[in-house]
Symmetry: C2
Subunit: 154 residues, 2 copies
């Protein structure tokens, strides 16, 4: 058994396990629908992500098990002299494996990908209801310099 943590890009056969991770979360359980088969909307979104060269789903794999997921998006902007940014979203790790460095390794991989793509900044927002996540990102060198605002559409 391979007990070394690895990162890999997601494939369609990983989708059910990814939605399990997203649903097995304090905020996620109210938002997601973990059914078999999965609601079509997840498959459509997965295909849209995979078909876009500016979006990647990154998985953490331990002993052949998917134990973490995040999405990274690369966006060209005019600001910062036409700089690209990398945005991280939807970070989740298996809740029984917290504190084992899985999140850290995924974020480090995301930072590596962002550098490869020439992004000048890696950015993310974290819900104020997750104070432990805020501390986690600060330890990794992120600065909470911005307010993150949302407007939910009806």
């Amino acid at each position: 058994m391979n007990t070394q943590l690895k990162c890999k890009k997601a494939e369609i056969q990983d989708l059910h396990k990814i939605i399990e991770l997203l649903a097995d979360d304090e905020l996620g359980r109210k938002r997601e629908r973990l059914e078999d088969p999965l609601p079509e909307s997840y498959i459509k979104a997965f295909n849209a992500i995979q078909g876009d060269p500016n979006n990647e789903l990154i998985l953490a794999v331990l002993a052949e098990e998917i134990v973490g997921v995040l999405q990274i998006t690369f966006t060209p902007y005019l600001t910062y002299q036409g700089g690209w940014r990398a945005t991280i979203e939807g970070v989740r790790t298996n809740k029984f494996l917290r504190g084992k460095g899985i999140g850290t390794q995924m974020i480090e991989w995301a930072i590596h990908l962002a550098k490869e793509r020439g992004a000048h900044v890696v950015q993310l927002t974290t819900d104020k209801q997750r104070p432990e996540a805020l501390e986690f990102y600060k330890r990794l060198g992120f600065r909470a310099s911005h307010e993150g605002l949302k407007l939910h559409l009806g």
Copy 2:
């Protein structure tokens, strides 16, 4: 003279005026390079934005003058049952025309585009050094539910 404010999508001939707006800003003046001709990096970024169906540059035009700019990005995510999000970035208005509803009209147009694209949320981050911007977005219905974190890459 047409003194009614209009929104339109940016074209390459608008680029110099857009960079003028981005540079004529407390934070922007340290970051941008307003030169004639413009640094190549702006033109490359403009072309990358225009070539991506998930990115739009929106301008506010008053009496044939460009008086505001923002960028909107549409991103597919697995979270929220595979929901799309609209992200607003790089919002600037002519500083001599503050309080005239230009920003409001641009954000309303962005919300309209987000609804057309079926996004479930419109999101943005605003620098904590711009408290007046935070109040502006709150008045438009945005909730500051998240922390916005940045990691600048060397």
